[in-house]
Symmetry: D2
Subunit: 336 residues, 4 copies
């Protein structure tokens, strides 16, 4: 029997991706879609779904959700998300939260975002990076889906943390497709700003930096000195992360990486530098590594909207519901 699931936040790109995955998912039954206003249909919001999916979009209401679904995906802005999550958990609905609200420990969250309004559930939230938290996710009622930059960065970085000296800088040069900036209109997302261009933004100041540092510390018990510089590139989707750091030069980085992910269904170790097209449309994270003495270059690629958001959310939901991690998850890239 299929599990009934719901989505709150269907207007944005990650909401659309959730709808697309859940529509063909063999074990989930999408029973409810909502956004903040309701009174529309999903194909009116996303005309590409015309003649494919036509469901009403409701004004989000936790009680309605609890009546029709066992698990709910929240694709909402931070702060809005925790108010819904809190009620849904109280009503016995499992939650996969795609916002930042449950990703960080209290102190880190309040420093970088705002006062937290659900301190009760926060300690029980599991960070939804399945390669590292699979067993916890399986038992969780509340999973905090990682940010796109932390997903690509942590998957590249974590296998090597033990070989990095705490005094060394870890530099992350990350490039994201424009969909990462959302549908919101801004000078930054104007076609003319992006076309034929590339630029960094918020260097050393992006809110995904503390997420990376905190998770590396929790998982590897090491306080890394992370310097994070995100860029926008002239692509709709995709994310390329380059980690540069200094390591013990006697390690065999390629062997370490291969061993580390030997059993990981959704991580592919590549012999040549990765590109973003090969992961676009999939839940894969491709990783490549190169050493030069004590200099290390780790290079990872994901689809920012899928592995960096919606498909990873569904993998988490699969695990929370006792399914195989890869159930209903596409592996075939948008190539060419």
């Amino acid at each position: 029997m299929k599990t009934n699931v719901s989505i709150v936040g269907a207007t944005g790109y990650t909401g659309l991706e959730l709808v697309k995955i859940l529509h063909t998912h063999p074990q989930f039954n999408l029973t409810y879609i909502a956004n903040s206003e309701g009174d529309t249909t999903i194909d009116a919001l996303h005309p590409c779904l015309t003649n494919v999916i036509s469901m009403d979009v409701q004004k989000a209401d936790p009680k309605d959700i609890a009546e029709v679904s066992e698990l709910c995906f929240l694709a909402l802005p931070h702060k809005t998300s925790m108010s819904f999550a809190k009620e849904l958990i109280a009503l016995g609905v499992k939650v996969v939260d795609l916002s930042a609200d449950y990703r960080l420990e209290l102190e880190t969250y309040e420093k970088h975002y705002c006062p937290h309004e659900d301190k009760e559930n926060l300690p029980n939230a599991v960070y939804g990076l399945p390669e590292f938290y699979e067993s916890e996710i399986k038992k969780a009622n509340l999973v905090a889906n990682p940010g796109c930059y932390p997903t690509a960065t942590l998957l590249a970085l974590l296998p090597f943390v033990e070989f990095i000296d705490e005094s060394s800088n870890v530099f992350i040069d990350a490039k994201s497709g424009v969909s990462g900036a959302g549908k919101k209109l801004s000078e930054t997302t104007h076609f003319v700003t992006i076309n034929d261009n590339i630029f960094a933004y918020n260097p050393f100041k992006h809110r995904h930096m503390p997420e990376i540092i905190e998770k590396a510390k929790l998982l590897k018990n090491k306080e890394l000195k992370v310097s994070f510089v995100p860029h926008l590139i002239a692509a709709t989707r995709g994310m390329l992360v380059s980690v540069y750091t200094t390591i013990d030069e006697n390690i065999d980085a390629k062997a370490i990486l291969k061993d580390f992910y030997e059993k990981s269904e959704f991580v592919r170790i590549k012999e040549t530098p990765v590109d973003i097209k090969s992961t676009a449309g999939t839940n894969f994270c491709d990783i490549f590594v190169e050493q030069n003495g004590d200099a290390l270059f780790i290079n990872s690629s994901i689809d920012n909207l899928l592995r960096g958001a919606s498909s990873q959310a569904v993998v988490n939901a699969n695990l929370m519901c006792g399914l195989e991690a890869g159930t209903g998850i596409n592996k075939i890239a948008y190539v060419p």
Copy 2:
């Protein structure tokens, strides 16, 4: 029980798309993949398939094909294709040919391509435009898959042929993504040539023009004066066709179009001009029409590699094997 199928011509973009569709097709079992040289694997040819599909790629041999499959997709250049098709038909294998070799009547073919080397099978080949030849396709052993430009053009044009005077010009301004030019290296497909650019090529001289004229005549018994101008645009995939012609101004073009495709699963009639992103990744053809007195603008969009080649080929194969037309065919576009 699943039907065993094979692909000859796995190196190019349409071969890749066939592999991608057949890999997840619920009723077809892909047993054999070949190209002209063999001795490789499909994920070596197309690294995006790493950890997804790993099958050997053979040097194409009709007898081997006949042993392991009931139906074969030929994604080969014209001329090469007919030599394979001939042998496969003789061996009892059904064929969906993606080349031009069986699309045209003998005289038209030889005028625009080369001497035909399979005059025996040519008259039995069915033109694989399912909206118009469904019943013939169901009974066919050999289906000639239409070209991408004719697919988008004919689906736009055919509903209106009876309202066009034979003395009127039918102008087709067609724009194709660069994948339509194939993987072959040429100055035309160099990034620098295409980026920030748009240009026509072979105006009034493209070989898809006679295909359009011939099919319109066969289906509607009218000799249209078609003038066809293809363009390359800065996109990987997608095709937008604009048909401009003069009609009886008393018709209601929107109503005619809606009625015509009322029961068509893969044609969507739109209220606003179509775009190529909404069909990218799918087998849909989106169509929009606008009148201005006796001036008519019909506007259609397809994915050139899918509806213009590989997904249409699988729809044809579905019909040839007694399956529902849409079996295994994706409807969810690459949006955003």
Copy 3:
């Protein structure tokens, strides 16, 4: 001695292009730049001008303009423009207006825009298409700079008007870079909307259609049946226009075109279809023509911001001030 000139409307793309041209113009001295708010500098508005040009940007005031300049470029929205033009003309300042306000005859203007507020000067405004109105421009105090679509269309179409039957449809399929939509934020100009995409907008309804019809009638005394369909393409700048119509099949279109523009400095007749990169950055209009019996395809390319706006405006100003048309006008394209 140089002529002092001014610009009102420095915030947008065409304002920027005017500044760029006038900054290096050998005979014009840019003395005054304004927008609607003032209190800034041109390099603050357009950071690409840092260390190149630093002039104050004023809050636009006609009297100030009249004190410091003999000619003023208005790069303003329609309606706003005519109120400035009126005052400037009264103060003895020559005006090149880049808006629509003086392009059309009264009736046409009021039908497609709004009530006209400067009926006194409207009849004296000269349409600034130098290939057709050079002698009038030389004597004018007020030049209405043509729209980008009409510029590219009229230059393609006008040589052939006498060979087109009035009952024939003239179809115009026009493709514009996104800068044509201006800096304004809208879903249409969001990178994600445009990237990998192409689509028509306002088919048969764009306000440049009546401009094309009216000018063809005034110049050639023939009422053409023009059907105009503009598109947005994934390029920042550039415009490709394809005119499709039916002509007397005995004409030699290539010869007619060459003869027509034999002495035109800024029109190049090409032997192959034109592209937009070859005119980007210049004032050129490239034109190609092809016949197929009585079917005619005329294909023109301009830089929408230059020949379609700012460089054409400076050519007009040159003529109004007794200079050679090409003074200070760049001919070297942004290639590669």
Copy 4:
């Protein structure tokens, strides 16, 4: 009186850019253009120059060059270049060599390229980075124009070398437009490979890495541990370089940078991260710097074909001929 100059290697992108600059240069007179085959014209090679520049293109011959010019630009592949340079120097012609042939010390060159065939002139060649070698360039007969990656990297890095410990890694993440790969056809430059994509190539192995190391050592007497990772991005022109390294955390990086380039006409220090559009079409190098404790991020942008090749070559020629560095050099970017 103008100085006569010549170009050998007019077929490629840098040759085209040289022609474009020299055509409007107020003090140089372009008298001779050659490539390896001759027998054509420059506008036949580069159709964008039609009706702009029409000069014969000769088969390159040093004696002819010496007869008609005092200075010659060599835009040739390495190895080919030194054979011409040698002869031209012997004939008394000044040379600006855009290849790698005179950029490196003998040992470095032979390790990374091939045996050197002009050991006589090599020691006298001056490295053409004007911010650092201006006085030497003024006296030189042979200038080795820097590579594009070293130009952008050295301008970013050199102000900080003294604050970097020799044990620290210097990581360079560089992104180049596709024109940097030249006109040669390859799978890498196919539109489909680049569109919607980004990827590194030759990480830690690019031949510009030793050039960067050697120049830093020569100029600053410090052997840096440089790790260089170049990328291709979906843009025609432009280069963004990000340098990541560890410094003395007590320095004020922004102040150092501003002081360092206070008098540099073609370096602009920015308050926000740089982008490539703002330098496209110009000889500027824009630089931004950000500190985070002892972590340093230096971010530079150039036009790879201009500051990274042809406009820097003309600046060098200006200096060699006693002209102002900026004579004939464009400062106005291709924005929007």
